[in-house]
């Protein structure tokens, strides 16, 4: 068996998610190659070569792969996929954008958001907003799947794989990059943070989200939000935790002013410890919280910050 892992990039650098996908590939077993595709990605390729378990890094460095647009990435992966039994990517917006395209071009199904590997052809994945876990077996010759990174521990950077260039250059006249607006933040990335503090509709307005800053600073936490808080315009949508936002599984998740709708729980109920702060003691969030504190968040948050 041989496995190709599509590397995740963030602003041209190797993203942490890739080390988790390599871990999933190791669970399947076999030779693992990593594909780094983009423009000016040598540093990312060198970082990928250090990931434990990787035998070879293949680098497609060309302007056509800049921003990893789906059309050229799909065409590139189709060219390379013939050498592999499995193609994996993280269930990031890039993986979700590109991999189904590859699968359809190869006339195979795709498995989304894999959270467990039973064997080389049998996998676990959540359905219905994580309220059921399906075990699925794929008899396709090529298994194409995205991996939920929080379900696999990252591999160490102790390896030394070889790096070689991929000469395949595809044409793309269908799509072009116009612009990108990335949120600037000094905090840890939401998906990989050990502690996450999230605010919901109960925060009242965007200004009040500053109440979470001090606590996040003291805990080295990322700040998340419920859909209600995003829809109300309190915070940008890339902070949304839930079925349709980010899936997180930190050591500690603190939900503040979040009622705990099914769709929000889908994004955080695998956290190790959940704390809920809410004034409504009937809020569904208390059913999954390890520690619940009923009260006014505007009194509790400043007190919590001062006592941490």
């Amino acid at each position: 068996m041989s496995i190709l892992v599509l590397a995740d990039l963030h602003e041209g650098q190797l993203a942490g998610a890739t080390a988790h996908v390599v871990a999933a590939a190791k669970a399947i077993g076999g030779d693992i190659d990593v594909l780094v595709a983009g423009e000016g990605v040598q540093a990312a390729a060198d970082a990928a070569a250090k990931l434990d378990g990787v035998s070879k890094v293949r680098v497609a460095d060309n302007a056509v792969y800049a921003h990893q647009l789906a059309e050229p990435m799909g065409a590139l992966l189709v060219e390379l996929a013939g050498d592999y039994s499995h193609v994996l990517a993280s269930a990031s917006t890039t993986g979700k954008n590109v991999l189904p395209r590859l699968a359809a071009l190869k006339d195979v199904s795709q498995l989304s958001d894999v959270i467990g590997v039973e064997s080389a052809d049998t996998f676990l994945r959540p359905i219905y907003a994580g309220n059921a876990i399906a075990t699925v077996k794929s008899d396709d010759a090529l298994k194409v799947m995205t991996v939920r990174t929080t379900a696999f521990d990252a591999v160490e950077s102790t390896g030394s794989a070889s790096v070689e260039a991929v000469e395949v250059v595809v044409e793309n006249g269908q799509s072009s990059f116009v612009k990108q607006e990335l949120a600037q933040s000094d905090r840890p990335e939401l998906g990989g943070a050990k502690v996450v503090v999230s605010g919901g509709r109960g925060m009242g307005n965007g200004e009040n989200f500053k109440l979470l800053d001090g606590i996040a600073d003291k805990l080295g936490a990322a700040i998340g939000a419920s859909r209600a808080a995003v829809d109300a315009g309190f915070v940008p949508n890339d902070m949304q935790v839930g079925q349709t936002g980010k899936i997180v599984a930190p050591e500690l998740y603190i939900a503040v002013g979040i009622s705990g709708a099914i769709q929000h729980l889908a994004g955080m109920k695998d956290s190790k410890v959940i704390v809920a702060i809410n004034k409504d003691e009937e809020a569904p969030i208390f059913q999954v919280a390890d520690y619940g504190l009923v009260g006014d968040l505007f009194e509790i948050l400043p007190e919590l910050e001062s006592k941490l």
Partner: protein, 249 residues
């Protein structure tokens, strides 16, 4: 321009699902069904394009059992002009749906196809991308803004870390994210009128598409339950528990 919208009948998003006792699947008997929320957003966007004079015709399509016609009637009540029902009782995977939709695209020649980004039952997030691949069209996934400009469409996409805008040549495939729009409700007179709008019924065989998949569902289980937690009375107690009991501080 002609716009094609794909909709799916799924379990209502508020329903807490149950897994069948024999672990064969999720129990959908006597459960409230509805149009997938992302599909509602797709229909809304198509109707808005029509209201702006950009689209001339909106065609809704679904793949599913006879009952899925309800969701097509909903789409018609919201403003779609006509509907196509590809009827099957089989469990149809994303790839087969994409193949069926590719045939419809071939037949109807729409300038824009709008789908939801994912269905809330299978949570796959695949069909739009697969359709784009099979029709060899560009894709604008997870759209939070769609602006048609001549023979191009600018799609602002919700990506990890922020927003990205891409320009796609038309025809193109777009999948909707939550923030694209706020879907309207169907009004009673429109629901009545929708009953008279044309609805074609087809089968996968009419399109020569085999819906069987090489992926089999072996088992469906409930996720591990979280242990019931405790309520604490004060911030001090909370910090104490987190430090000494949970040991996460």
């Amino acid at each position: 321009m002609k716009v094609l919208v794909a909709v799916k009948r799924v379990i209502d998003y508020n329903v807490k699902i149950r897994v069948k006792a024999d672990n064969s699947d999720v129990d959908l008997t006597n459960v409230k069904m509805a149009m997938n929320p992302f599909c509602e957003i797709a229909v809304e966007e198509a109707v808005r394009l029509k209201e702006k004079g950009v689209a001339t015709e909106v065609v809704a399509v679904t793949v599913g059992p006879k009952a899925a016609q309800e969701q097509l009637r909903t789409a018609l009540a919201l403003g779609a002009d006509r509907a196509i029902h590809i009827e099957t009782d089989e469990r149809v995977e994303s790839l087969a749906v994409a193949k069926l939709l590719a045939k419809v695209v071939d037949e109807e020649q729409p300038d824009l196809v709008i789908l939801g980004k994912q269905a809330i039952d299978t949570d796959n997030n695949q069909t739009g991308q697969m359709l784009a691949a099979l029709t060899n069209l560009p894709q604008g996934t997870f759209a939070s803004e769609v602006a048609v400009d001549g023979d191009k469409v600018n799609v602002t996409r919700e990506i990890d870390g922020g927003l990205q805008t891409v320009a796609l040549s038309l025809p193109a495939i777009v999948t909707t994210d939550l923030r694209l729009n706020e879907p309207r409700y169907a009004k009673l007179p429109d629901i009545m009128k929708a009953k008279k709008k044309p609805l074609d019924t087809k089968t996968p065989a009419d399109y020569g598409v085999e819906v069987a998949s090489k992926v089999s569902l072996l088992k469906v289980e409930s996720p591990a339950e979280r242990k019931g937690g405790v309520k604490v009375a004060s911030v001090d107690e909370l910090i104490d528990k987190l430090k000494n009991e949970a040991k996460v501080l």
